[in-house]
């Protein structure tokens, strides 16, 4: 199994790369030139903060600790990876990167207007209240998993020899990652309010080439995300596991790619029909929508199932991103429209197009599996939405009434990069900075005579 192990090392690295720099680029390019750095910083610090928190108590609270009411595990039993076998560190690594990107995804909803300090405080609180518990419930044998006798599905449809009759399916994180991030984004937007001039001033992407790089690197990294999420049946690292590794991963790779291709084209088609032209932002958005939707289902559908999920997700999200203008919530970079909607589409459609012929699949509605899988998938999604909403509300309100979320109106209209980070992203003038020129103030004395010495 050292081949599988090598793949896990690679997958963990790939998923870390999804947050930094991929997501930072995807979001940064869509923001305005006066706030791109703040946008990127939210992804960088999500990695900085959650990376540490995860090792301290995240792993313990998700997988290692003793189960508390099926909702989360004891955060202290494996605090700082106490007692965790070195051979399991790679799984800590892999799971760590998931927690990181989930938190980072949220930042897109609250672009341009949030105190950097508020974000830094939000991160550890949110992953602790929302992410770690949901990870435990879905993947840690908790309330939303098929392994728990008192779990949602078991309670509904029974439990036989150690597993729920109808196993809830979330291969790589439709609920834990995307629905969770999407809901959190929505709740924060409602708490924090709109950007100045939302809906009135132009707020177009300032650099679509960055967004395209980001989308491409996200796709690349997503192979680690989805294909790396294989769980072994035997689990003893023997022949059977190797055989499973050497076939299931091929399927998840292909499904991931197919759904993403389909979603890209579907989004472009919607734009063509609605707006007359397919855009590059649309292609990039479609890519992400497809990746999101296939995340929970990549192991449980065949090629046609993947195509269907991709098409539906691409089209649905392409429409969904318009809703914020209708209802007037400023989900700035469409975390709701893409991750919440895409996550729901992927999670629920499993109940319809999942196929027993796929490595990790049971027959869905379409394959005569009846309505039960659909019910389980839907209720699982619903529960995840509720949990995430409440957890985020608690954290969000706590910050709102202590630190406060918003920067001042002046700062916001001048640009958050200046005011929260004291920087500007670009200085492209060929006159070498003259346009935004300024004298160097700090510690100059010692070097004032530099011109003379230059060739010393």
């Amino acid at each position: 199994m050292d081949g599988y192990y090598a793949w896990m090392l690679m997958s963990s690295s790939l998923v870390l790369m999804m947050t930094v720099p991929a997501l930072a680029l995807f979001y940064g390019g869509m923001s305005r030139s006066k706030s791109v750095l703040n946008m990127m910083m939210m992804s960088f610090t999500a990695l900085g903060v959650v990376g540490i928190v995860y090792v301290l108590w995240g792993w313990s609270m998700s997988y290692a600790g003793t189960n508390v009411a099926g909702l989360f595990a004891n955060p202290f039993s494996a605090f700082g990876l106490k007692g965790v076998d070195y051979a399991d560190y790679v799984y800590v690594a892999f799971q760590l990167t998931f927690a990181v990107i989930t938190a980072a995804l949220i930042s897109g909803a609250i672009a341009d207007r949030v105190k950097f300090s508020a974000w830094l405080v939000f991160l550890p609180l949110w992953v602790t209240l929302s992410y770690f518990p949901l990870a435990h419930m879905v993947w840690g044998g908790g309330f939303l998993s098929g392994a728990s006798e008192h779990g949602l599905s078991a309670t509904l449809f029974g439990f036989v020899d150690g597993a729920a009759k109808v196993i809830p399916q979330d291969y790589a994180g439709g609920t834990v990652v995307h629905i969770n991030a999407g809901v959190a984004g929505l709740v924060l937007v409602l708490l924090i309010g709109k950007r100045l001039g939302f809906g009135a001033e132009p707020m177009k992407p300032h650099n679509l080439t960055l967004t395209m790089i980001g989308a491409g690197l996200l796709w690349f990294g997503w192979f680690g995300f989805n294909v790396g999420s294989i769980v072994f049946v035997a689990g003893d690292g023997g022949e059977k596991d190797i055989a499973q590794f050497m076939s299931e991963t091929g399927v998840t790779w292909i499904n991931t790619t197919l759904a993403t291709c389909a979603a890209m084209l579907a989004w472009l088609a919607v734009e063509r029909l609605r707006d007359g032209k397919g855009t590059s932002l649309g292609a990039a958005s479609g890519v992400v929508a497809g990746l999101v939707a296939i995340t929970p289902s990549c192991g449980s559908v065949d090629v046609y199932g993947a195509l269907i999920i991709g098409v539906v997700a691409g089209a649905a999200c392409a429409y969904a991103v318009g809703l914020k203008y209708k209802f007037g919530y400023d989900d700035s970079l469409d975390v709701v429209g893409v991750h919440l909607v895409g996550g729901i589409v992927g999670t629920v459609l499993i109940g319809v197009v999942s196929s027993a012929s796929a490595p990790g699949g049971v027959d869905g509605l379409l394959y005569g599996g009846g309505v039960k899988p659909l019910v389980v998938q839907t209720l699982t999604a619903a529960f995840a939405i509720a949990w995430s909403a409440i957890a985020t509300l608690i954290v969000g309100l706590a910050i709102k009434y202590t630190l406060g979320w918003r920067i001042t109106e002046e700062s916001e209209s001048e640009g958050i990069d200046f005011n929260e980070h004291g920087e500007s992203a670009y200085d492209l003038g060929l006159s070498g900075g003259a346009r935004r020129a300024g004298a160097l103030v700090g510690a100059v004395a010692a070097t004032s005579s530099s011109k003379e010495e230059a060739n010393a």
């Binding site: 001039g197 200046f418 920087e423 500007s424 346009r435 935004r436 004298a439 700090g442």
Partner: protein
């Protein structure tokens, strides 16, 4: 003919444009410039080196108008661009001998 040059705060541009449109100004030329004045710029720090950014972004608008409209246009710009905070900008009026519309070769009033 007069040439009215207005230097205003970027986020005021939309309002000014609308106001001028309503008044009947059919054209103008706009550029991104940097302003230096009472309004102080930012301080940026890069790896411990502090930069004093003296310049602040401004929008510069040029409008060629009939002598008769000059006063009104200036008032409109001043009224709509005003925030009352330092850095609102300046508007100046200068004489123009003649103006031509490239497309047609029409001159002066007809060219506007």
């Amino acid at each position: 003919m007069k040439l009215i040059t207005a230097v205003i705060k970027p986020h005021k541009w939309e309002d000014v444009r609308e106001a001028l449109e309503t008044f009947g100004v059919t054209g103008m030329t706009v550029s991104e410039v940097s302003g230096y004045g009472r309004q102080k710029g930012h301080t940026e720090v890069y790896r411990g080196a502090e930069y004093d950014i003296a310049l602040v972004p401004k929008i510069r608008i040029e409008i060629v108008v009939d002598d008769s409209d000059a006063a009104d246009v200036v008032d409109i710009v001043v009224k709509t661009a005003q925030t009352g905070r330092i850095g609102d900008g300046k508007v100046w009026v200068a004489p123009v001998d003649s103006v031509v519309r490239v497309r047609t070769g029409e001159r002066d009033e007809a060219a506007l």
